[in-house]
């Protein structure tokens, strides 16, 4: 009896089957449902308080903060901005808001600042700890006043990866979370270029790819459908990564 051949054939059929199932619309629906279940559980198990990412002490900070994805922005504008120490960098705040505005680096530094030592977890599996300083996104949103229709905040970036512009988005729960900041400092110094100079998002309850770097704009929107390919972020559009990256 060719039992081994049977096992190999059964194994291959199982793998091929899994790959096929993985491409169906039903599977996509199930996964979306599971993602929502995870998010619901994460919020519900907080027991009524606002779930906060753990914060660490200075002794825990990693000696070097790894950069991943874009390590710089390959444009003349960015190089010019770098040459002047990003003094004239601007962050546009718009979309479904009562007060659209453009914030200078000085405006951003003039807002109340939050310092947090947090762990950055890449979807690949590694982690690094760093101290971030910047204003809470909630403070900026309170000034801009999103309308009632606004359900998501979209973050636009200066960098491109593989020819496409990087962007990310989050829901209003994460946008107004106390630890969601627009960081301009890492470990007591201006944000290094590999980590997103001069501004990057910190979205502490989600994985690294949500923490958009080289921020140029923030937009309040009602739907993510018309932005990029409609999945709410660069990796979500390009490679099917999960929009809710708290898992």
């Amino acid at each position: 009896m060719k039992r081994r051949n049977f096992l190999v054939a059964a194994g291959s059929a199982f793998l091929a089957g899994c790959s096929k199932i993985g491409d169906t619309a039903l599977f996509e629906k199930l996964v979306d449902g599971a993602e929502n279940w995870h998010r619901g559980l994460h919020r519900a198990l907080g027991g009524g308080r606002i779930p906060m990412a753990p914060e660490f002490s200075r002794n825990d900070v990693s000696p070097f903060f790894r950069g991943n994805g874009s390590q710089t922005v390959d444009t003349d504008e960015y190089r010019a901005a770098e040459a002047e120490g990003f003094a004239n960098w601007q962050l546009a705040v718009g979309g479904l808001v009562a007060n659209p505005m453009t914030l200078s680096m000085e405006d951003i530094r003039a807002l109340p600042q939050r310092t947090q030592i947090t762990r950055h977890d890449c979807v690949e599996g590694w982690s690094a700890i760093g101290e971030w300083i910047g204003p809470q996104l909630s403070a900026i949103l309170e000034a801009a006043q999103p309308s009632e229709d606004a359900r998501f905040i979209v973050f636009y970036c200066a960098d491109t990866l593989g020819g496409s512009e990087y962007y990310e988005s989050c829901d209003m729960d994460d946008a107004y979370h106390p630890q969601t900041i627009i960081a301009h400092q890492l470990n007591g110094e201006a944000l290094p270029i590999r980590n997103g100079a001069p501004l990057r998002l910190r979205l502490e309850r989600q994985l690294g790819y949500k923490h958009a770097k080289y921020l140029t704009g923030i937009e309040a929107v009602a739907s993510l459908d018309d932005i990029g390919a409609g999945y709410g972020g660069y990796w979500e559009d390009r490679a099917g990564y999960q929009w809710y990256a708290g898992i």
Binding site: S12, S19, H42, R119, W126
Partner: protein, 230 residues
């Protein structure tokens, strides 16, 4: 009693097969996820070779789901089946507490823990004699099943939960319990291989003890093999 007692309760049988599928899918999609970053660390953080305690090999396509490298697709499988796996265990635990399965069949009595009994059991296993011992399972089976149900599977679930930053924000004490996120990740990896080792042993022993009979019993429930009149 007029009714014939089943060897395996319906809840046990459903869980057994749901769990078998979940473990295989989670293990194979997990190996795909492992390929994204093959180094393991202890403590809270780590990203470079000098921080690592182990660099695992790259797992080939025939061992992974999907059968090509895709971190996002592997995570889809993992995210879906982690819920089935975790709530499956919870449902089984509740059923097994209510119907007495844990207390009656899985937990060993004091006299079974005697070294002479364990040694006898080891010798019987070495002779491929699996029909011995009091109760449904002999002491080695009880130790194996209890370790998997009460230690290994919960360890898989909780270390997995620690690695979800959203979950960690809700239950930060869990990360501390395992000594940091990267420690939890390392333990997740170790427990996964121990569970895979159990699965292989389990299948080999079923093959040795009579696969057709045992698989049929795990589907139909079979008949309780006790001396008591049915």
């Amino acid at each position: 009693m007029s009714k014939v007692r089943k060897r395996h309760a319906l809840s046990t049988r459903i869980w057994h097969w749901v769990n078998a599928v979940s473990i295989i899918i989670l293990f194979m999609s997990g190996l795909n996820i492992s390929n994204a970053h093959r180094r393991l660390y202890w403590g809270d953080w780590g990203f470079a070779p000098e921080h690592a305690w182990l660099e695992v090999p790259r797992f080939p396509g025939w061992m992974t789901i999907p059968d090509y490298y895709s971190l996002s697709a592997a995570r889809d499988w993992h995210i879906l089946f982690s819920l089935i796996f975790a709530f499956g265990l919870l449902a089984f635990m509740i059923a097994a507490l209510i119907n007495g399965h844990l207390k009656r069949d899985i937990f060993a009595r004091a006299r079974e823990w005697r070294l002479s009994n364990i040694w006898t059991d080891v010798k019987q296993h070495a002779r491929f004699n699996f029909k011995h011992g009091e109760g449904k399972y002999n002491i080695l089976q009880k130790i194996a099943y209890a370790s998997v149900i009460l230690i290994l599977i919960p360890l898989m679930i909780f270390t997995g939960m620690v690695m979800s930053p959203g979950m960690e924000a809700a239950w930060p004490w869990m990360t501390e319990l395992f000594g940091g996120r990267q420690s939890a990740r390392s333990l997740h990896f170790i427990a996964a291989w121990l569970l895979a080792a159990f699965l292989v042993m389990h299948i080999l022993l079923v093959l040795a003890a009579g696969p057709v009979k045992h698989i049929r019993m795990m589907i139909t429930g079979g008949r309780e093999e006790t001396g008591e009149p049915a």
